[in-house]
């Protein structure tokens, strides 16, 4: 097993086991979305109009939930020291950890979104568009969050700082994710315009996130 495969397998195993928190994000997502129609009442037109926005907001908050433990857990038990002594480049290790995190928190959101969309009166076309924006947009949330997780690694209660750091950076992803989903339903812009920008944001975060996070980790481990 190569070092990077070893990290991926380990992080997936830990997330799946007791206390790993793989399903916490998606459960939180389901609860938040379920509460919305209860708070707003059975106004189907209103729900349909704000549905994509609610789903995206819930996904953003859900993807932040387990993020603070991404590096903090490894720092606390001394694993991070040894990871820095490995021969695999830290940037790649960090990217693989983010991939494992996305597979265990992002992918369940993508699977749950069309089911929970029924509660918000989304039709089939809107749901397909929404799933597509989730598929492209949730990796960006993870890789942007990666930077915050690396900066907050040595703090005992880093979760709060993480949210404050990461949420503003995630604003463009939120705007264009919701815009693309809405465009598919109502127009007037074609779906492709905001969706292409969302793809661009994701590609940028995939490049910037690991380098920024690795730099932050090297500074923090002193």
């Amino acid at each position: 097993m190569s070092p990077l495969t070893a990290i991926l397998v380990r992080d997936l195993r830990i997330a799946m086991r007791v206390g790993g928190g793989a399903l916490m994000g998606v459960l939180f997502f389901l609860v938040v979305v379920t509460l919305t129609p209860m708070a707003l009442g059975p106004d189907l037109t209103l729900l349909q109009r704000i549905g994509p926005a609610i789903l995206w907001l819930a996904a953003l908050l859900a993807s932040l939930l387990a993020l603070d433990r991404l590096f903090a857990a490894d720092h606390k038990d001394g694993s991070l020291d040894l990871i820095l002594l490995g021969r695999a480049p830290l940037e790649l290790v960090v990217a693989v950890k983010a991939l494992a995190h996305w597979l265990t928190t992002g992918v369940p959101l993508i699977i749950a979104a069309p089911l929970i969309g029924l509660l918000l009166n989304l039709d089939a076309g809107a749901e397909a568009a929404l799933v597509l924006t989730f598929l492209v947009g949730t990796p960006a949330l993870t890789f942007i969050g990666l930077i915050g997780a690396a900066i907050a690694v040595t703090l005992r209660r880093g979760g709060l700082l993480l949210a404050v750091l990461v949420l503003p950076l995630a604003v463009p992803v939120l705007i264009f994710g919701v815009a693309a989903a809405n465009a598919a339903v109502a127009g007037p812009v074609p779906f492709g315009t905001p969706f292409t920008i969302l793809c661009g944001l994701t590609l940028a975060s995939l490049v910037v996130g690991p380098f920024a996070a690795a730099t932050a980790l090297r500074q923090e481990i002193e």
Binding site: S2, R10, I14
Partner: protein, 201 residues
């Protein structure tokens, strides 16, 4: 292979921990780093692997692999055991031997050497402090690296395990490795050099 330090200085949190520290350890030699609490023993070891910035002086490694950093040729056994409680004993060891780059790691042999082969399937959460330490030591045996940096390696180990650890260290030295160990007790190695930190202050 020879690891030498000249006039090393360490500064942490705005406080000078030590300055003017020098030593030289060759292949097959061990250096016991001694000093009172807070003298900078752990900082010195972390500095050698590159986890603490060198505030002054320099570190040289002759005869090492020029493609690799010092940390990539060293094993660091710190205070923390770097074990995941939800993974089993063998999964923990397998991860580190794969990650630290053993081509053909002898995980089974390493577990047997530290006396944990009967517990291979047990989640690490159920291990005692001494067993956790022994599992960490198994990492050093499974993956061959020439430099061992041991921070209080014998803490939490019982008498038998301490003697076994001394045996592992002697075998490592006999194979041409070198050891830096921060310790208050005896290392159990004949002819180990000694470096005392904080003596001048």
């Amino acid at each position: 292979m020879r690891l030498s330090a000249f006039d090393l200085a360490c500064r942490r949190g705005g406080r000078d921990v030590f300055a003017g520290v020098g030593f030289s350890v060759g292949a097959g030699e061990a250096l016991a780093v001694r000093g009172r609490n807070g003298a900078g023993k752990s900082s010195l070891l972390r500095m050698v692997v590159g986890l603490v910035r060198i505030a002054g002086g320099r570190l040289d490694l002759e005869g090492g692999d020029p493609e690799l950093t010092m940390g990539e040729q060293a094993h660091y056994l710190g205070h923390q055991d770097a074990l995941k409680p939800s993974l089993s004993v063998s999964e923990n060891l397998r991860f580190w031997s794969s990650f630290l780059g053993a081509v053909s790691a002898d995980d089974g042999g390493a577990l047997a050497a530290v006396g944990l082969e009967a517990l291979a399937g047990l989640p690490a959460a159920y291990l005692s402090a001494g067993q956790r330490r022994r599992l960490s030591i198994a990492r050093l045996l499974a993956v061959k690296r020439p430099i061992w940096l041991l921070d209080e390696p014998a803490s939490t180990l019982d008498g038998t395990a301490q003697q076994e650890l001394s045996g592992f260290m002697r075998a490592h030295l006999a194979a041409g490795g070198l050891i830096l160990a921060a310790t208050h007790g005896a290392l159990g190695i004949d002819g180990a050099h000694e470096l005392r930190l904080g003596g001048a202050q």
